[in-house]
Amino acid sequence: MSQSAVISGTSAAPIPLKEILPWAVFAGLLFILAMYFVGIEEGAMSIFNSMYVHEFVHDGRHLLGFPCH
């Protein structure tokens, strides 16, 4: 292995798509839902109707770059 190269070594064998897909669907949806609650809920769209989620994560919403007020 060359000493001068920062990125050296070999790439890993790809993970079979059949193995990734079920995770991608279920976990992917969950992650996107979590991001939705931080970024959008009780702003442009609303599942609950309290404004509590919006108010609680409000500063994160602005500082993570989501449109807010």
Partner: protein, 254 residues
């Protein structure tokens, strides 16, 4: 795969603690200043004959200023900010692991840490920086309450166009790979991406709801703080995830 996902979420959680530290120290003073300005502007509209003005601001978000707060400012700037960034960061780390599983050994033939770092750089540019260039983050009270739906749609439209441009650029790059080699194919792909997002950004309508005589330094400082928060989040996810996926022997190797 479950292991990989957990590592992504762990990397995201740790990264979000770093991003929170930055957002708290650099970002919060700007948020406080913007909210103080908002309060001033609001109390102004209540004095004097500007009755229509006051009426108007009531259907926007400005009403939060004179109604009892649902969540106190201290909680918003502390536990609320931490929770928001941590939930977002952990979810981002999980999505990062999924993307890593798809591209590793397929689109990118680099060792794990290199793959993670390249993925983080591309993710930051495509999912945050390019949409941010068109629709930058704004401090509180810069956007109008009535347009939140419209602004959110446009922001996500830009984000989706950026992602689609990446997909098209990757397929161009892959086709050119045989003929041009990796380096040139990558440059071609980057060029295709840039042209496509430039067209999308040009075609989408501009949003400028910054009030008259709004302090320029506040706007600038806030936008830099927002950019820094996401940059730290992505960079830390890329580095930590790469560090977590290589074997423990390699992890501490010189």
């Amino acid at each position: 795969m479950g292991q990989l996902l957990l590592r992504g979420m762990l990397a995201g959680l740790i990264a979000s603690l770093l991003a929170f530290g930055f957002a708290k120290i650099i970002g919060e003073p700007q948020v406080e200043r913007a909210i103080a300005l908002e309060g001033q502007a609001h109390s102004h509209s209540h004095t004097g004959a500007a009755e229509t003005q006051a009426e108007h601001s009531h259907d926007g978000n400005a009403e939060a200023a004179d109604e009892p707060e649902l969540v106190s400012r201290e909680v918003q700037a502390g536990a609320g900010l931490l929770t928001g960034v941590a939930v977002y960061g952990t979810a981002l780390g999980g999505l990062f692991a999924l993307a890593y599983a798809f591209i590793s050994g397929r689109l990118l033939h680099l060792p794990p840490r290199g793959t993670a770092l390249v993925l983080a750089a591309i993710g930051f540019l495509v999912l945050y920086f390019v949409p941010y260039l068109k629709y930058p983050a704004n401090p509180p009270a810069v956007g109008q309450g009535e347009t939140i739906g419209y602004r959110t749609q446009l922001y996500f439209a830009m984000l989706v166009f950026s992602l689609m441009a990446l997909a098209i650029a990757v397929s161009f790059g892959r086709q050119a790979f045989e003929k041009l080699g990796g380096w040139n194919a990558s440059i071609l792909g980057a060029g295709v991406y840039l042209v496509l997002v430039a067209v999308a950004a040009y075609a989408l309508p501009a949003i400028n709801e910054v009030p008259e005589k709004y302090p320029a330094d506040l706007l600038w400082n806030f936008r830099i703080a927002a950019l820094g928060t996401q940059a730290i989040l992505w960079a830390a996810i890329g580095l930590l995830f790469g560090w977590l996926v290589v074997g423990s022997r390699e992890r501490f190797a010189r």
